[in-house]
């Protein structure tokens, strides 16, 4: 196993392990706030994983932005051969903003739950009656 392959696998495994830890936090977190924090980590790591899938190994790697406005055919060929995959980046741009909006909305819900019940601990909320 070459060093590149090892590093590549290491990145994947690290990202997956963080996803698992955040999943555990979402399932077993005592308070709604902690669940929300775990959910944020989950979303961010998922985005990082998507970006990572689109990465490209090689001697020369370039951002998916062509540096000239009047490209020659050679420019386009060079660009296609070195630029990273733009599709995951495009999906993640919108996902980050949506993620933040949804997180803020959930934060509102948590605040409202705290105002109404006086606690954010799930088990205590479940025990409340009426």
């Amino acid at each position: 196993m070459s060093i590149e392959h090892f590093l590549q696998l290491y990145c994947y495994v690290a990202l997956v392990v963080i996803i698992m830890i955040s999943l555990y936090g979402i399932v077993r977190g005592a308070s709604l706030t902690k669940k929300l924090i775990a959910l944020t980590i989950f979303g961010d790591v998922a985005n990082a994983l998507i970006i990572y899938v689109g990465y490209r190994l090689g001697e020369e790697v370039f951002v998916p932005v062509l540096p000239t406005l009047e490209p020659s055919p050679e420019d386009i060929a060079w660009f296609t051969s070195v630029a990273v995959d733009p599709v995951p980046q495009c999906l993640v741009i919108t996902a980050i903003v949506i993620n933040m909006a949804v997180t803020l909305f959930l934060a509102f819900l948590v605040i409202q739950a705290y105002r109404l019940y006086g606690t954010t601990v799930v088990k205590k909320i479940a025990r409340l009656r009426g």
Partner: protein, 269 residues
């Protein structure tokens, strides 16, 4: 309790093993390698290909060109999810401005962090605005665009709320919640206009540059206005997104920073 804990642990460990196995067996189809997928190659090849203008978007930034020309519906629906999240957040915190002001009382503008923080915020705030506008205006040629610019823009009011107060933003700068909603809606209406106008003018929905299936773009191929390099309607979409995202987040930050005590009293708790 013990059994439940163990069950959750075992299930997550199983999930972990499965995901790692899937990756090891090549389930992600194309783990980082020296090549890219054919779809990505198509996008990279055609984003500013002057020799094949039936597929191009006339934008050198492949990500931005994909955001509108190749995957416009994706952006459109994500914007609607964003809209729903903001509106439902605002609906939860709906409370009359007059009532809240009466509850909060006067003299609150004097509060805030120390003079050092306030002065540095005064210096940084215009810079944040300038950067966000620049990112939005250059988004069709450089890395950047409406979503990113809007997120940067929202940092400015957040900084002001933290170092001065919410009242400072609402009273002194006159950026009330109603105004935020209005500007947010202006951005959304602009997005809808940019999306729907081509259809009304005889092109395809969300069309920017002429495409193979709809060779007649209503805008022509709008690549230049005077000395300004344009990428058709991507430029206008970026400005619209700047308004929608920036003021949507500002609205949510204003709502989040509402004083807890007064709000509870108004709710009757």
């Amino acid at each position: 309790m013990k059994i439940k804990d163990t069950a959750v642990g075992v299930m997550i460990a199983l999930l972990l093993l499965t995901v790692v196995a899937v990756i090891l067996l090549g389930g992600t189809a194309h783990t980082p390698s020296t090549g890219i997928r054919p779809l990505a190659e198509f996008y990279l090849k055609h984003c500013i290909n002057v020799y094949n203008t039936t597929w191009w978007t006339s934008s050198p930034a492949a990500v931005t060109s994909m955001l509108w020309d190749y995957r416009g519906l994706d952006t459109y629906y994500e914007t609607s999810v964003f809209f729903l999240a903001i509106i439902s957040g605002a609906a939860l915190f709906r409370i009359a401005e007059v009532k809240l002001k009466a509850e909060e009382g006067r003299g609150r503008e004097e509060l805030g962090l120390s003079i050092i923080v306030k002065t540095s915020t005064r210096i940084i705030f215009p810079l944040i605005l300038a950067v966000s506008v620049s990112v939005a205006l250059h988004g069709h040629l450089n890395p950047g665009g409406g979503f990113q610019a809007g997120s940067i823009l929202a940092v400015g009011p957040l900084l002001l709320i933290a170092s001065f107060s919410r009242r400072y933003l609402e009273d002194r700068l006159r950026l009330s919640r109603a105004k935020c909603v209005a500007l947010f809606t202006v951005g959304l209406v602009l997005i809808v206009l940019v999306a729907a106008l081509p259809l009304a003018m005889g092109g395809a929905l969300m069309q920017n540059q002429p495409k193979y299936w709809s060779p007649k773009s209503p805008w022509g191929s709008l690549t230049k206005i005077g000395p300004l390099e344009l990428s058709g309607t991507i430029f206008f979409l970026d400005i619209a997104e700047l308004f929608a995202v920036g003021f949507g987040f500002t609205l949510l930050f204003l709502l989040l920073s509402m004083p807890e005590k007064e709000f509870r009293r108004l709710l009757g708790l």
